[in-house]
Symmetry: C2
């Protein structure tokens, strides 16, 4: 049951004197019950103190215990899935299929980190016994704050990838829930809290705080006991948190994924020969009503003779699509403002707005795009900008003016590919993932995924927020020199009691020393 309370270091607290807020169904625009409480200054302080108080205990728990904890979280979520899915659909107005899909994705993500803990090699045990006996292992950095994302009420929110990777790493987590889906978030927090109870872990290691005020996030990020931050959202929000964290007397890492325009480059032969382009692109542009961080914001085509009908075909497709509403009226309002602004700008862009579903398509020449830096700003919603180039060299120049991105896609035929080297080199310097088929929407959750990219796509291109390597955001190495065996972490002891893969004097082995 959704109560509207905050979970403060293991205690559900109701403080009726604090300000309240409500969620809203984005389709009906009706406010939902119950009222949610803004987390108070005192609650933030308590949540942080309690997380820090159990930080060392939790860091010392076995991988097995943590894996068991994650399994119970999965079970708790499954047991309460009917209520979770109902709240999700009320608060987001997203269709049942998306709700179920995202729930399954969330459970699958948890499964990946269970596997990571069961395998154990993520801890990167490195032993060097010639000379001084040196043994290095990754340890958790301490309590972290995770911000729920507006556009993924489950997969990038309370029990999403940031939280689960941090819990797997051995860090206590304080979630600042996103106010657009406060009920869904609370139900997920209940699942984590129940799992803590059932596994006998300290309840203090997980908190869930709600609120609309930026003050809550700011107080959390500035708190001296917080050691790291995970965020998925806008550039403005992510950069503000990053700056706060860097101005602390002890700066801390902030992993902010701040959006991307995910350019798609379509080469000349591909453009001429692939009859499915318009269908594939229009689906990708409008997927989730355009509210994916991997949404293709620009489509750069090589059309030397101005013969392509791709723009007209995409227009025809987009005009007739049925789209669910955007996840919140604030996001919708911002989207519409950006489209109006683009339409009236003198940057050479023609904007086609489809009144049936509020999606839109822009068209601009390569030359105009290169001249207008503002055209590479993200428009968050069901919109894309087609950039018409006349040569691959012009495409290279377009790639050159782009900022850091999560992804880029290069669509080509075998014939096109012999001319691709320069474009590929340029694009590679700007992104975290390059696709050569399909569309960037859709992010597989496995160890080979890189969901990140050079600034401003993220604040730290060296890490990923999707896939099992996301755990490395919350770990740091420590070396033990000439340490008595029984005082070593179990991962570094001579007998290798966990049987994990270790680097022993340069050789990877599961053997005892």
């Amino acid at each position: 049951m959704i109560t509207g309370q905050n979970l403060v270091g293991g205690l559900w607290e109701s403080i009726t004197t604090e300000a309240c807020f409500q969620t809203m169904n984005p389709k009906t625009k009706e406010y939902l019950t119950p009222l949610f409480q803004e987390a108070s200054t005192e609650q933030i302080e308590q949540a942080t103190l309690r997380a820090s108080g159990v930080s060392e205990i939790y860091a010392a728990t076995s991988f097995e215990k943590r894996a068991h904890f994650l399994k119970i979280i999965q079970e708790e979520i499954k047991q309460n899935s009917v209520e979770i899915l109902a709240a999700y659909q009320e608060e987001s107005a997203l269709p049942e299929g998306r709700a179920k899909g995202e729930l399954q994705r969330t459970l699958d993500q948890i499964e990946r980190f269970i596997e990571v803990l069961e395998d154990g090699s993520f801890s990167q045990a490195t032993l060097h016994t010639n000379g001084p006996d040196l043994r290095k292992i990754l340890v958790p950095i301490g309590p972290v704050v995770v911000f729920g994302a507006s556009n993924f009420p489950l997969a990038f929110s309370t029990a999403g990838g940031d939280t689960i990777s941090a819990l797997a790493a051995g860090c206590p987590v304080i979630v600042k829930g996103h106010p657009y889906h406060a009920g869904t978030s609370e139900l997920m927090a209940q699942a984590i809290h129940s799992a803590l109870k059932k596994t006998g872990l300290p309840l203090e290691l997980f908190s869930h705080l709600g609120g609309e005020s930026h003050q809550i996030g700011s107080q959390l990020v500035r708190h001296p006991l917080i050691k790291g931050v995970g965020f998925t959202g806008s550039f403005t929000g992510g950069k503000a948190l990053y700056d706060l964290a860097q101005k602390r007397s002890e700066p801390i890492p902030v992993f902010a994924e701040m959006g991307s325009i995910n350019p798609i480059f379509i080469l000349e032969n591909k453009l001429k020969t692939d009859e499915n382009l318009a269908a594939d692109l229009s689906v990708s542009i409008t997927l989730g009503t355009g509210q994916f961080c991997t949404n293709p914001g620009i489509i750069v085509i090589c059309d030397s003779s101005n013969e392509s009908s791709l723009v007209e075909e995409i227009k025809n497709k987009m005009a007739t699509m049925e789209l669910p509403p955007m996840v919140h009226s604030n996001i919708e309002a911002r989207y519409k403002k950006q489209i109006t602004h683009l339409s009236s700008s003198n940057s050479g862009v023609q904007v086609h707005l489809f009144n049936e579903n509020d999606s839109a398509l822009g068209v601009v020449s390569g030359a105009d795009f290169i001249e207008s830096p503002l055209l590479s700003e993200e428009v968050f919603g069901p919109f894309s900008l087609v950039v018409q180039c006349h040569s691959i060299d012009e495409m290279v120049n377009v790639a050159q003016v782009l900022k850091g991105q999560l992804t880029a896609t290069i669509l080509s035929t075998t014939e096109d590919q012999h001319n691709l080297k320069i474009l590929l080199t340029k694009v590679q310097a700007k992104v975290g993932r390059i696709l050569f088929e399909g569309v960037p929407t859709g992010v597989a959750v496995n160890q080979a995924m890189q969901h990140g990219g050079p600034f401003p796509a993220t604040t730290d291109s060296r890490f990923t927020s999707v896939g099992s390597d996301a755990i490395y955001r919350w770990l740091r190495p420590i070396a033990f020199q000439d340490c008595p065996d029984f005082l070593l972490p179990v991962t570094l002891q001579n007998k290798n009691p966990l049987g994990i893969l270790r680097n022993v004097n340069g050789i990877l082995t599961t053997n005892a020393l």
Copy 2:
């Protein structure tokens, strides 16, 4: 031959209109020839533009080519070692043994990165071929700036660990040489420049700029084409560079190693029974005239009955040692000022100054230490502060007030070790390396080393600046999805042409796909 010129993106430039500076022999206080030129604004701009211009070419060079380049650097250094050692000793006044030792260490460090490149598995190739074909690899971040350290004219300077790890990673490097040993630095830059010529790599990828003005470093760090920074030095210097880098419109990683007081905890039985403590500690305190980042700045002893004669024994040893001068009169002046300040403070510290060699030992009670945060500031020089505790609980409280450190050392007997858990847990949260025998001075260069630690010891505890893992500071992951085999980096191609160890669908293997 030392010319006093700057190496600007491959060209040795002499601009006689610019300001000049000189190095000084710290023993004789005599200025040395020749005059060195301050790098000009235009030279900094050119060095950066040229580095950026060849960044993509260098990133695409094979590991084999880079390993060969490093080998030729080693050869060039060896061939010119007589002149290098002479300049080193003139500019630092450090003894021949130290000069030769540091040169050998510098060559050994280069050897580690040759091994890393020959092995190739550092690139962390990860292939996942179920579902979309995803292949992830680490790629260089781009041009980086390295600041030479005052206290290691070779091992942490022009061809030191920062530069060599970045060159191994595939990043162009601009070195801002330290003005205290500008001649030694120039000779090392000549070695790197010659190696570039001999291997046919672009000369633009390495620059060496000299100067005394902070403006040079500031202009380099703020330049939009610079993508990372390596620094070893003071907290003031490192933090200033870090702040500059975070205020850029595109923030970049700064790996600043900013010093540490490297606490040594000596437990009760150890204190009573180890007769070598005073000898070992006095040597460690005065090694390199105290100018090591791993110098033991505080020695916390458990002496419940106030019976220990350790302080008197260390005093006797220190009073009679012969120490070379500090590496520069500025450092010496700052050291003396700090000692004077400590002596006259009302923090309960007794300071014993040994006039024979300017070394000093302080003594303070655990209670007073805990009350005076200023006592945990680093005193850079041949000084240590003995903190007298009466119980292991009091030692835990001392550990609790310490900031982040590079190392801590816990000296104990088997009997002491059964009581160590709480102290060990506290200490572990504060450091990058814990020693259980010996002294923290002496840092082995291998893969199990962690030379780093929580802030303020460094600006990023997740990385090391010593040992082969130092290469990870200059790399970021990129994933290729459904990429045609011939367009993939060679490390990710089906046939695994380099035969490197790769993670293929969760299995580590050198096999082809």
